[in-house]
Amino acid sequence: MSDCPNCPDERAAGAAFCENCGKALATGETLDVGADCASCGSPGSVGDDGYCQNCGMLAGRPRDHVEADAGPVAAAVTDRGLRHHRNEDAMWLAVRGADVDVVVCDGVSSSADPDVASESAAEAAGKALALDAGVADAIREAAEAVAALATTGDPRRLASSPACTIVAARVRDGEAEYGWVGDSRAYWVALETGHAEPLTEDDSWASHAIAMGADPQAAWNDPRAHAITAWLGADAGPVQPRTATLRPDTAGVLVLCSDGLWNYRTEPAAFAETVLACVRENADLVSAARALVAFAVEAGGADNITVALVPLTP
């Protein structure tokens, strides 16, 4: 029995993304030819190319808001936010029983086609994890996929190589192996104590400055604070993902997110508070993820927002 509408692969059963063809099984808006226009209200005016035949507005971009719901096992939501014109974040979520593969990527806005970079990276890493690769190898696969983009398609990609960050986790038997490149983060939030543990250390100017002894507040206020020092892309040089393994000794939630979320909660304690509030106030995991995205949107929505939640027990 296949759950994937795009290909007949049985491994897709129960997965939030088909592990074979990589197509999302659970997505947000899809193009609805002949639908009423959400902008001007004209009945049945959405044309074949997705634009309203009356007011010209695009009916919706599938990536603007995507949700992946794997019930109590995992959930992930990505959203365009308010200020960016498209969603340059991408995610991958696949589950098999209690096993989870999850990837969050954030396209570098100053590069060419960052949305393509993040999508390619998430897909390449996700597929590698599905074939039981380790996280470091999966990230290297993603790095190769993104680097290859520079020489395909639009010639502008040669001048400014498509680039993105990545954070990925592979959960097997209650343990999470995780790894990252760039400033997309992973946290461990303990449910009972509300203790938050940042699992990743940003490859960013601010992190390096703080590590070298700079005042954290001054470092974060520096205009260069968010400049990343490692990324995936043809111009990134050799990619060396940092990896570690999380073995929880108490019940909690593994959170993977892009800076569109953590920027509004830079302190781990505040971050944990918001995550716990969203988890407790919502009946299911995907609603909690959606609430976290809504929090970032209400806080300003200055960037694309992606968050993935994976509950773990010892």
């Binding site: 902008s39 001007c40 190319d49 634009y51 309203c52 009356n54 007011c55 010209g56 507005m57 695009l58 971009r61 603007d64 365009r80 308010l82 200020r83 960016h84 014109h85 498209r86 806005s109 100053s110 010639p155």
Partner: protein
């Protein structure tokens, strides 16, 4: 036939911005094997006014007309009109079109030998006769060559009313020989008839010019190609201009075609490429909104040959919205260049040397910046260019009439921007 259209633009608009600009490049590889799919008709109109006797123009015109006849493909319908105070059909019999064969071309050639210069200039009447002859063959690729050496002698407003009536029904390439004709008048004819205009200062160059025009005409494979532009509700088309190979404003030639859609005539097409600048005003959107500002189709009748989309995406990222598209900037400059030259020539004629110097200076600067060396060289025949980069020029005291007319007629010629940059 294979047509393709590609839009070049910066689709990102600042919040509150409403003006959308795009350059649409339309390229055609011509019909199957570069051959016409239907028929073609040609009319050659030669001015036989009395002034044509001067400087051996009549003899040169005879040579040129013969050269043009020699270029007409077998099977093409054609006629030759002698332009005097009325229009007289020289070949074949009045009201008829000949079918091109080696025999009819030989007959036409001997008829051309009978052309004599004695009469007036009546461009309106000549075009009207050409129109009547071509109307016998609807669906043909219809083309005419018009040669004159003087100003139109018809009563004021007659030529305009004829152009109003027959404008766009066939393509007419206009050539002025010598320097006693009026650039603005022939340009008006060429614009209305979707043709070209140029000066042939020396009669001996006429044959080459006629050969080139006829060869180009024979290369056309599609007769009546149009640009169909759809825009969203509450949007207005500010302008539609051809910007390459030369500037021609098509805005006023719009005919409505259903809701929010208009058609602009492009004339006949062969294997060639042209660029169009489309400017649309749209209602402003919110950050992240994406709007289809125009759907630009190349059509022949109801047949859509190719299509391209002009988009608008609003963002508060100034790095995106302030990015300047090279194509749009380049052709905006080329259109300004043509305007500056024409304004400079007018000011110089009116004795306003200050304005003329300013306009020619700006023109020199624009021509230099954009690498339009042909226009820069033409400018140098009218002004001394001291520093093209800053637009510093001095009016020349003595300017050859032919040079100024060449600058005027060729002011609309543009160069293409490098695509890779």
């Amino acid at each position: 036939m294979a047509y393709s259209a590609e839009a070049f633009q910066n689709e990102f608009l600042a919040l509150g911005a409403t003006e959308v600009n795009a350059i649409v490049t339309v390229t055609s590889s011509g019909a199957e094997g570069g051959r016409r799919t239907g028929g073609a008709s040609e009319i050659i109109i030669v001015d036989c006014s009395g002034s044509m006797q001067a400087e051996g123009r009549m003899a040169a015109a005879r040579q040129a007309a013969k050269a043009a006849v020699g270029c007409i493909d077998d099977g093409v319908h054609f006629a030759i009109v002698a332009g005097v105070s009325t229009a007289q059909q020289l070949y074949p019999a009045p009201g008829q079109l000949a079918v091109s064969t080696p025999e009819t071309r030989a007959q036409a050639t001997s008829a051309i030998d009978r052309l004599q210069a004695n009469g007036g200039t009546a461009i309106g009447a000549w075009l009207k006769l050409a129109h009547q002859l071509l109307a016998q063959r609807p669906g043909d690729i219809a083309h005419a060559i018009l040669l004159t050496d003087g100003e139109n002698g018809e009563y004021k407003g007659y030529l305009e009313s004829v152009l109003q009536e027959i404008g766009g029904s066939f393509t007419c390439d206009c050539r002025g020989v010598g320097t006693n004709w009026t650039v603005s008048e022939l340009r008006k004819v060429a614009n209305a008839m979707l043709g070209t205009v140029d000066i042939v200062a020396r009669p001996e160059d006429l044959a080459a010019s006629f050969t080139q025009m006829m060869t180009t005409a024979m290369g056309k494979t599609n007769g009546d190609v149009q640009l169909k532009v759809w825009t969203p509700v509450n949007a207005t088309v500010r302008f539609v201009k051809q910007v390459e190979p030369q500037v021609a404003d098509l805005t006023g030639k719009r005919t409505e075609d259903g809701p929010r859609t208009g058609r602009y005539p492009l004339g006949a097409w062969g294997a060639e490429s042209r660029d169009y600048h489309i400017c649309v005003d749209v209602p402003p959107g919110a950050a992240g909104d994406e709007m289809l500002a125009a759907r630009v189709s190349v059509v022949e009748g109801e047949n859509v040959l190719t299509q391209s989309l002009v988009r608008a995406v609003w963002t508060d990222d100034a790095a995106l919205s302030t990015r300047i598209n090279r194509q749009v900037a380049h052709y905006t400059g080329q259109a300004e260049l043509a305007d500056a030259i024409q304004a400079g020539i007018e000011a110089r004629k009116a004795g306003d040397d200050r304005t003329a110097t300013l306009k020619f200076g700006r023109a020199a600067q624009l021509a230099h910046e954009s690498g339009n060396t042909a226009t820069e060289e033409l400018l140098a025949t009218v002004v001394e260019i001291d520093d093209a980069a800053t637009g510093t020029v001095r009016l020349k005291r003595k300017v050859e009439a032919a040079d100024e007319m060449a600058l005027d007629t060729r002011s609309t010629k543009t160069v293409r921007v490098g695509r890779s940059q």
